[in-house]
Amino acid sequence: MDSTSFLDIVDKGIDKNKPISTRPANEEDIMSSIFNSIPSKSAAETDIMDSIFDTKDIKKKSQQTSNNDDLVVEDEKSDSSEGVEQKVEAIDQPMEEETIEPLKVEEQIADEQICEEKEEQLEQVDDISEPIKVKEEEQKELEVEVEQNIETDSVNAEKEEPTAEVEQNLGEVESTNEKKEEILISNDLLKASEEDNDEEEINTSISESSDSLTMADAPEIQISTNNSNDTVIFIKDNEISTDKNESKVSIEIQTEPNTPNKNSNNNNPNFSMSVSNVYDDVKTSEITIGTIEQEEFEKKVDLVSPLKLEFDKIFFSAIPLEKTPFEVLKMNAFTGVLKYSPLRGIAWKIFLGGLDINKINNWETDYKKQRERYNKLREEHCFDPRNSNSVYDPLSQNDDSPWNKFFKNLDVQKIIKIDLERTHPENEFFQNENVVEMMSRILFLYSKTNGIVSYRQGMHELLAPIIYLYHKEYTEYQKLDESPKGLIDFIYNKEYLEHDTFSTFECLMRFTSDWYAPAPPPSTNLNATSASAAGTTSSTITVGTSPSQSPNNSLNGDSSDLSGSQTTKFNEVVQKCKYIHSVLLKQKDFELYQHLDSIDIEPQIYLLRWIRLLFGREFHFEDVLNIWDAIFAYGEDLVLIDYFCISMLTYIREQLLQSDSVYALKRIYKYPPVEDVYSLVKKALEIKDSNCSIAVMVKSAQPPTSASSIGTKTIAVLNPSLNNSGSFPETSSSGEDSPTSFLPYSSQISSSSTTPIDNLSTKTTPSLNSSNHNNTHINNSNNENKTINNPLTSSPSNNTSPKISHQNSNNNSNNINNNNNINNNIGLNLNNSGNSGIFKANITKSNSSSGFVKSNPKDLFGVRESDLNLFSSSSSSSAPTSLNSSTNISIGQARSTFFSSSSKHKSLQFTKSPIITDSQKLKNVQHHLGYSLNDIIPLLEKGEKYINSNEDNDRENFLLAISKVKEIRDMLVGTLPLPDSITEDKNEDATSLIGDPLKK
């Protein structure tokens, strides 16, 4: 190969003497590609350059490695950076302008030793090169660019001839090996650049073209580098061949644009985990110029698969990451970057608890254990009595007989096989016999470990994406470098594809298997959803916590729920459906909830399928993977599913609202294609964290929002720089009208500002969360959000808080905090920063300890109350009583009751008396605390005397005051029970307490 390439060069040299037409097509392509790639010198130019440079980084490295062979020569080169730069500059010219006069360029270059001011240089070069053109090739100016290139090449080539020959002699020996490496590297770059596509589309086209460049140029580059080592030659022959120049240029240029890139990355910590980070290593290594740089390059020179790069980067980063790897992965999942990451499989495993990310050192043993376990399972259950040496009676009726087990297993396997035949029939991957074999084995073995539930239809749908992903990753991974076998090689062993898939699948099923538990009338979800729905509804009723009443569930109710669900496990999924429908949907989008109720669409009808299959049938296969990214990353028993369901419903909200039951069912069953599922994911997160009705948000953000805008949205959510503008990312996402649409919303909140609809309130009032686990979820989620948004918890909350505080001047600080939260949540910023730390902590404590809930009816009545609030907005805010009563109003409820006078919601049927009593109690609490404080004040005043006079008598008073203050604190914290006459709604207690002293 080498010899041929050299011959090629020689030929070229010869050819160049000939007329233009005979020139090798190779060069034409190269040139044209270059030109095409640099069509406009707009703002995008820098990006383009970056991409080019990135791609060519490796080239440089390879060059240097080759140079390393002759260390002396290299040092010369690096030291005499001037010379190198000269070449580089010379090379630049052809890229920008087709005609070059090497000499002039070199002069300029000599002035600038460091490449960082490259762009300026380029401009200069342009200026200079133009006159050159005129000189050299006036006649050709009008001709097509490509032709120009060719001609210039030919012209240069003539000059080139001698050098080329010299090069042959010099470079022959060295170049052979290096060329191969180069090509490989360029391939790597190709992959990497492809990964970047989505982020910067412009880059791809350029990088591709540059790839072609590199491929075509590979041999020439090599030679040129060799020659470059012999500086003598270059210096002598000032006229450098265009070909060489080009290659050189690309190589040298790389360094400068990288630095800006890096800076930008640093500025946006959010993106630190994106695939582009793969370059980070490269970039960082290149920033330093000199010997260190060379060392770095040497390292990079061994070919490393992108997977390994990424893997090492995230899990074994030498540079301390801004976030833990887990967070990085999480962020990736939410933003959709994980899609491009080769580590998706591992990320899933981590998310699902299959691996402990904090103990990477144990991974190998973990993997080993998992694989051994699988092997054991396989030995145990895939036992074929036919192949055993001992004789077993095939006709034996004994249950322990291997044959009987074998036959039983055969039955299960048969069912699995039937299902597998129907797994994504459109996807060729799942028609592959090996894959089917693997899947059936995995499912079968899982069924053996799954106890009585065994295998159920639908599980195969959950396995499909996992095995697809793992198969892809394991087959794509290639060990390119010669480094000793590392963890990554151990993990990505295709032999264990099945094992690892199984363990991940098992992890997933840990969360989902309960949803497959048989319903009373044994039926599988897909075939008999309606039947199971009917059966399960009846069962839920018998359980006693009919979901319509579930909002009334107190904490105590929760525990009873738990026990109930344990006894009737098969209800779990149905209860989940009910919960999603009658709690979440009601809370988030009352209008839709009402509509679905009125047209008699049972939530189980569609939610069973959605939940059990994790939306596997609703979206395109690749999208399902993306959704799963988010769901898994969110963790917490995959609670995001609930909110994703709501998100999906709201996506087709308008269509549902306008349709009757037949069409609505049709719409739900045949879910419309979603351009960007991340918008749904994002909305799910919003819904999850907002605690408010999404009706308004939904209205403003209709499905027709363009995919591109959505894409920016998703990023925007996590991008602090965007948040700094003060507008919430979500509002910005929904379009221009969103701010206006939000105004009434927020005003509603402020008018009924006494409604602490926020994280705190959800904690304190479990009535919001009727499900067993939801309380913890929300708590967790809050923490979660905090951690995620640590860098983000900044301006927006601060911006909003003053406004609101102005509006509700009467409200105490706690309320203000709440409002902050509301707004933050709306904005999806999830900032808890606004909360005053002390109060928050205290309140949560007291609630958790009291474990006692008054507010069940309250939130329902809250609707009423909120009505009042809405009507008399100004007055309500000041009245502390309204605080209690409207704790749990969802804005949706408020809205609907407010706007539709004929709302038939059950809550309205409740009598009003509880409200009065509750508010009365709270008033009592307030007064009690106020009076007790009143008592303290004189004591404190006396204590003041003590400080001055040191009298023992006064000292006692002082201590008494302190003890009283402590008592009150304890009451508020919850360690001390409040007096009987006072209710335990400490949230409000706290507010009132705080309020009183201030007033006084």
């Binding site: 036919r386 004789v391 077993y392 009676d393 095939p394 006709l395 034996s396 009726q397 036959f407």
Partner: protein, 183 residues
Amino acid sequence: MFIIAIGDIHVPHRSHGIPPEFKKLLVPEKIQHILSTGNLVSKEIHDYFKVLTCDVHIVKGDLDENTSYPDTKVVNIGQFKFGLCHGHQIVPWGDKSSLAALQRQLDVDVLITGHTHKLEVFEANGKLFVNPGSATGAFSNISNDVIPSFVLMDVQSNNITVYIYKLIDGQVKVEKIDHVKQQ
């Protein structure tokens, strides 16, 4: 795939019925085919076979009253051709070369014959010869001392695993013989 070769029942004339130990093993849905060498004699046994599986092949024994049974029958199961014959036509009874002649005549891979009430499973010329004996242990023309037996064949692609069931002293004994079809 499970195939049962069974024959020479002789109920009710020489035996009162299939031993309960065997009946316990022979349950519906486990066996896919029954190849009977005849001499069931009574229709009840035929019905009993039909309960076990719908695919029952019976050839006519010398004492069978049902004249609709054929003398010989060839059944294709999987990759194998099973030849079925009661065996009283083969002279001398149970003679190996005569059996081989019949096997060549029928051009089968497995030849199942009975009549001798003597269990025999052997390979010759790459072919399998099976004599399941008498399932009831009925006496034969030759001997009084007959061990009740039948044969189960597990056909998997190109090999057959033969399980021989014998009732000795009230205990069911199982033996296994592997046979691979020769191309």
